[in-house]
């Protein structure tokens, strides 16, 4: 791989042993994947934040790195294992909290913004079209590539951290235009009424296309919440890191769809997916915000439950930034009066909810996919409206 003088100097240890090791990681990964050079990144998002996911191995690694390395670009985090302020309210143990806060301290020492969210693009880390970035969280990678048209591979925790402390990422995969062409057309033959319908379709299509790049036709309209749900589901059931939607996502008109295989998604597939994702009956709790809820989603929930109790206790998981606005708008009072809670910095998949509940209701296909394995939950999968009113 061709390296610039600046990159060579980092590799030779002029910025310290940690930066050298991180540069070596990027160079080797670049060599393995056939990158010819490095490109500067303008934004990073690092995964592997929850103590539940990374354990003592991760904590010790991060503390080592934090002794020396500082980030060079705007860097955010993936969700942590608890609300960093109101963890006691969530039923988190002292021991878990101590370890989780030690992880956060290590990241803070590196100069990372302590915004622990899977939706950095809704919380102050928004790249522009065609900008090179290094993000980790699979749903955020999908959103950045597809909806914004930025360029990122799906980075692991360490390779994203390496991009943050060096300011570079190897130029391969989805950073190159030629690798962003779709390989399958999805003909949507049913009306998608809620973001949960989009999530269900994403779940089905992710299983079908696996690592592919689908091109959707027949979607009349989709808002940011719909696309967020669609991408998250495809990245969970498959490994889709980029999709195009005709008339809606920015690169759809630049790519070629000639001669591609076609698959259909209709009423039957939609219903099948709902049935498949629902494994439980009576939920102990309803949890929204996978990926983290947008302000608009919190407003919607507040409207549905205004002036009455929801049929079950519920949480809305979101970023700290969005929670602050919701608090200022008086939405928290409305939600709490209805038996709900706004939880920041974390989510139902990465926090230890298995200690609290057995059956969880969600409107997210991604959450429905991970909850049985990661959190030993039975799942009820329905739209926000059905869960709160039903």
């Amino acid at each position: 791989m061709h390296l610039t003088k600046e990159q060579e100097r980092m590799l030779d240890g002029e910025e310290g042993e940690v930066v050298a090791r991180m540069m070596r990681l990027l160079v080797r990964l670049g060599d393995v994947y056939g990158a010819e050079k490095m490109v500067p990144v303008t934004s990073v998002q690092v995964a592997g934040v929850s103590y539940k996911s990374i354990g003592d191995a991760g904590l010790e690694f991060l503390q080592d790195i934090a002794k020396e390395a500082r980030v060079k670009v705007l860097t955010f985090l993936n969700p942590a294992g608890m609300d960093l302020e109101n963890w006691k309210e969530m039923g988190i143990s002292e021991e878990f909290a101590k370890k989780q806060l030690a992880i956060i301290n290590a990241f803070q020492k590196m100069g990372i913004v302590i915004s622990a969210t899977c939706t950095p693009y809704l919380a102050g880390n928004l790249p522009r079209y065609r900008q090179h970035i290094a993000w980790s969280e699979s749903s955020a990678v999908s959103f950045a590539n597809s909806v914004i048209g930025a360029r990122t591979n799906r980075e692991g925790g360490p390779s994203a951290l390496a991009a943050a402390v060096t300011g570079f990422t190897p130029y391969y995969g989805l950073h190159l235009d030629e690798n962003r062409q779709p390989n399958v057309i999805v003909k949507v033959k049913t009306e998608l009424k809620t973001s949960t319908d989009f999530a269900a379709m994403g779940y089905y299509i992710g299983k079908e296309v696996k690592k592919g790049i689908p091109y959707f036709q027949g979607i009349k309209d989709a808002d940011v919440d719909d696309l967020k749900a669609l991408g998250a589901a495809m990245a969970a059931s498959g490994a889709v890191a980029l999709y195009h939607v005709e008339g809606i996502t920015p690169e759809a008109k630049e790519v070629s769809i000639e001669g591609l295989e076609e698959i259909e998604f209709g009423e039957k597939e939609l219903k099948e997916t709902y049935d498949r994702l629902s494994t439980g009956d009576e939920p102990d709790i309803i949890i929204f915000g996978c990926p983290h809820a947008s302000l608009n989603e919190i407003i919607k929930v507040a409207k549905i439950v205004e002036g009455r109790k929801a049929r079950k206790p519920f949480w809305i998981c979101t970023s700290r930034a969005v929670k602050e606005i919701a608090d200022k708008m008086g939405l928290r009072e409305k939600i709490e009066a209805a038996g709900g809670k706004i939880v920041a910095d974390t989510c139902m998949v990465v926090s230890p909810i298995e200690n609290l509940f057995n059956t969880t209701a969600v409107n997210s296909a991604k959450a429905a996919h991970y909850l049985p394995g990661f959190c030993k939950q039975k799942v009820v999968f329905k739209s926000m409206e059905d869960l709160l009113e039903g």
Binding site: R21, R24, L25, R28, L29, D31, V32, A47, G48, S53, I54, G55, D56, A57, G58, E60, F61, D64, G156, G157, P158, S159
Partner: protein, 130 residues
């Protein structure tokens, strides 16, 4: 046998071979280097100072941190030989500085064989000593 270098260096020692893929996270104890995955063919064996041979890694990306932890705790293998090294193992080996090569026909290596590895910047050579 010729292969591809993931992390360069020289190493030699006794092979410990798994025909099954290996998960480092939840699969190997970071403090002792002992394989703890229930029912795994290497369960109960220690990877410390061995040449660890397996087809490819599986499981959580946290596996990279476990490989780093094994090295830090002085219980890492001397080298890793894979059929195909995926990102989790590659990242862990590079961060930890453990010699790692792939593209090797691992069926030819038996448990207990004495292995010599010379991994250059790009290509690697693996020799089974008679």
């Amino acid at each position: 046998m010729k292969g591809r270098t993931i992390y360069p260096g020289k190493a030699e020692g006794e092979a410990i071979v798994s025909k099954e893929p290996l998960s480092f996270y939840g699969g190997i104890d970071m403090k002792t280097g002992i394989v703890i995955e229930k029912g795994h063919e290497l369960e109960g064996k220690c990877v410390k100072d061995k040449i660890l041979v397996f087809p490819y890694g599986k499981g959580s990306t946290v596996g990279s941190y476990v490989i780093y932890g094994l090295k830090k705790n002085g219980v890492a293998p001397k080298a890793i030989i894979n059929k195909e090294t995926e990102t989790i193992v590659a990242t862990g080996a590079i961060l930890a500085g453990i010699v790692c090569v792939d593209g090797i026909d691992i069926d030819k290596i038996k448990d207990g064989d004495y292995i010599i590895i010379e991994a250059g910047e790009k290509e690697a050579e693996v020799v089974i000593k008679e």
